[in-house]
């Protein structure tokens, strides 16, 4: 089996699905000739041609809106927005249309598309290149939100997203693109959307994370009897898996790199409070970024939750 990084795993998933299904095509800024600014779509223009890999003008709202039209027409477009921070001008298309097309047309039209976009911090890039505003998207009914945490799940989740009948936002943690290599089977496999993964079993505390925080959480969990859940799909998130784990451990720490206030951690904590409060032996703790804009490179390490902060939170709930 090949050892692939996440860039290669995503590239392979796209190539395989494009080969299998001629409805799948890519569009976005620099996705063709340049192979994407992170090289995720490298080689796909050469292999599938200009009709299926479209280098678009610089127009996020146009890209998103065009993808909706293509999807409704019966294709399975994969629009790429160069960074999550540049989806903001496409919110109207995504929120007011992609997420609602099925409902607005009472099922006559639907919007099966996968919006791919690099996301998250820690790469020392310019402003708006390190956003982690995933919770904004999770607030919008009609949109699924998926975040892989490594090459293996990236391939399986992307293939599942590409076959999903509804719009999926596929957030690719930039810090992980080349950080980890894993065995990735050449043959296709699906990682079911909406299901969390036990990244590490344990019995005294549950730690929930996703994306690039997972790697830090796994480091922090060393030496503890902690169960680490990799959420993978943020909406709909796997509340059953979280509650089952919390029933066992009685303690919950949620880690995300987004700001604290109204982050997805709040939704998870509220769900556990509603459904399993009597199983808790300590308050639920969140380890998050502070409520400030994502800073530039010099402060980013003070912004992103670090291994030590995660350990402190685990200690706090264990010693409560």
């Amino acid at each position: 089996m090949a050892q692939l990084n996440m860039v290669q795993a995503i590239n392979q998933a796209l190539a395989q699905e494009m080969a299998r299904d001629d409805r799948v095509l890519l569009l976005g800024e620099d996705v063709g000739r340049d192979g994407g600014v992170f090289r995720v779509t490298e080689g796909l223009l050469e292999r599938f041609g200009r009709e299926r890999v479209l280098d678009t003008p610089l127009c996020e709202s146009g890209i998103m809106g065009a993808a909706i039209g293509m999807a409704a027409y019966g294709l399975r477009p994969v629009p790429e927005i160069q960074f999550l921070g540049f989806t903001y001008s496409a919110f109207e298309q995504l929120f007011a249309h992609a997420a609602r097309l099925r409902s607005r047309s009472r099922g006559r039209y639907s919007c099966p598309m996968v919006v791919r976009t690099p996301y998250g911090g820690g790469i020392k890039a310019p402003e708006l290149h390190e956003e982690s505003t995933e919770a904004l998207f999770c607030q919008v009914p009609g949109l699924k939100v998926v975040v892989p945490s490594g090459p293996y799940v990236a391939k399986g989740l992307l293939l599942a997203a590409l076959r999903d009948p509804d719009p999926v936002l596929f957030l690719e943690p930039t810090r992980l693109y080349r950080l980890l290599r894993e065995e990735v089977p050449e043959e296709e496999y699906l990682v079911e959307l909406g299901k969390a993964r036990v990244a590490r079993p344990g019995s005294s505390v549950t730690v929930v994370a996703w994306g690039s925080m997972l790697e830090r959480v796994l480091k922090a969990a060393e030496g503890y009897d902690a169960e680490v859940l990799d959420l993978l799909t943020l909406n709909p998130f796997d509340s059953e898996a979280i509650i089952a784990s919390v029933r066992k451990t009685g303690r919950l720490v949620i880690v995300h790199e987004a700001a604290k206030t109204c982050g997805l951690g709040a939704e998870i904590a509220a769900t556990v409070a509603e459904e399993a409060i009597l199983h808790l032996r300590a308050p639920i703790l969140r380890v998050t970024a502070p409520d400030v804009p994502v800073p530039l490179a010099k402060l980013i390490d003070h912004y992103l939750p670090g291994v030590q902060q995660i350990r402190t939170a685990i200690d706090d709930v264990l010693q409560y």
Partner: protein
């Protein structure tokens, strides 16, 4: 019924200085030799600053940096027509305009070094922070232009952006606002013919960008963006027009991005060496040197002296930037709101 002709338009291109360094005497702006020499010094400063910034990035001393090489005439020539009272809404690749208006060199480097303290524009300059989200600064310039007119201030509002930005809705919305409200606004498009890997023809099917203004009901002109006199002349006229209340102008500076998109890019993947060489031969600084030489104002030795002066300024800027203490963690919270929320204040305390 015969069809009625509703619109018939022309788009013009302004050229003053040809590649041999010959200027059209009718069109040459009224500038003293000292002013022309100043333009030259500023273009050299922009070039040397840029080379240094790229080198600093390669050495890991600053972060990702977007070179301006090749765009010195388009940036210096336009900013030279402005005053410090005018307002500037830049994108992120107009450091030549910043330098021309006297923006401190250490602060420019500090920004690309990833330190937001640099975004505090010095008092006395009306320059908005660098705008990374392509095109999103343009409607803001329209708002400032509305405000300036409301206040009866005789200033021009200027916004810079690239060819790629003309594909954004924000650009079109701002152009329309400018036309509808007849705003004191100058749109300066740095058409460097590339938006990362997308060439101009992948960005527009129009024969020029300048003609887009026609659809919004005001004047658009293309200028040779490697001709500092053409850029200066067109900007001067547009700014005077704006200040006098005669409305907006769109200036397309046709130039070329001689370097990679940023230090994180490799332009060799998507464009030919011949194309780059073609434009290198049309270097805006060379062209001005040929003009100055014809006037007896230039020699290789004078260039050396001017370059050494510029390099000394840049060296001092680098030293000053590198002498700054790193920001403290609490600076994450600086200037987020006039008063931090209780939660932010609490988060700040534990940093």
């Amino acid at each position: 019924m015969p069809e009625v002709l509703l619109a018939d338009f022309q788009v013009k291109r302004l050229e003053v200085l040809n590649e041999k360094g010959e200027a059209d005497p009718e069109l040459l702006p009224e500038l003293s030799d000292a002013q022309i020499w100043r333009l030259y010094e500023l273009m050299l400063l922009a070039r040397i600053f840029d080379e240094r910034a790229v080198a600093l990035q390669r050495e890991g001393r600053i972060g990702t940096y977007p070179p301006i090489r090749g765009q010195e005439a388009a940036q210096v020539g336009s900013a030279f027509a402005l005053t410090k009272q005018d307002w500037l809404f830049p994108s992120f690749r107009e450091m030549g305009a910043h330098l021309t208006l006297g923006y401190p060199i250490p602060q420019l480097l500090q920004y690309w070094g990833g330190d937001e303290r640099s975004q505090k524009v010095p008092v006395g300059l009306n320059i908005f922070p660098f705008c990374v989200a392509v095109g999103s600064q343009i409607p803001q310039a329209a708002g400032a232009a509305l405000a300036a007119r409301y206040r009866r201030d005789p200033v021009a509002i200027v916004t810079y952006f690239g060819d790629g930005a003309t594909s954004k809705g924000d650009f079109h919305e701002a152009m329309n606002l400018a036309g509808v409200f007849n705003l004191p606004l100058v749109f300066i498009c740095q058409n460097n013919q590339w938006a990362i890997s997308i060439p101009l023809k992948g960005q527009t099917a129009s024969a020029s960008l300048a003609q887009k203004a026609v659809a919004y009901g005001f004047e658009g002109v293309q200028v040779d963006g490697n001709d500092v006199f053409a850029v200066y002349r067109a900007t001067g006229q547009a700014v005077a027009k704006a200040r006098s209340g005669a409305g907006p102008t769109f200036i397309e500076c046709l130039t070329y991005r001689m370097a990679d998109h940023t230090t994180a890019d490799d332009a060799g993947r998507y464009r030919s060496g011949e194309e780059v060489a073609f434009w290198a031969a049309r270097d805006p600084i060379l062209r001005l040197e040929r003009f100055l030489e014809r006037r007896g104002l230039w020699s290789p030795q004078k260039r050396e002296e001017a370059a050494a002066q510029a390099a000394a300024l840049v060296d001092a800027g680098v030293a000053e930037m590198e002498a700054l203490p790193p920001p403290a963690a609490t600076e994450l919270f600086d200037e987020i709101l006039a008063t931090l929320t209780p939660r932010q204040a609490g988060q700040r305390k534990v940093r």
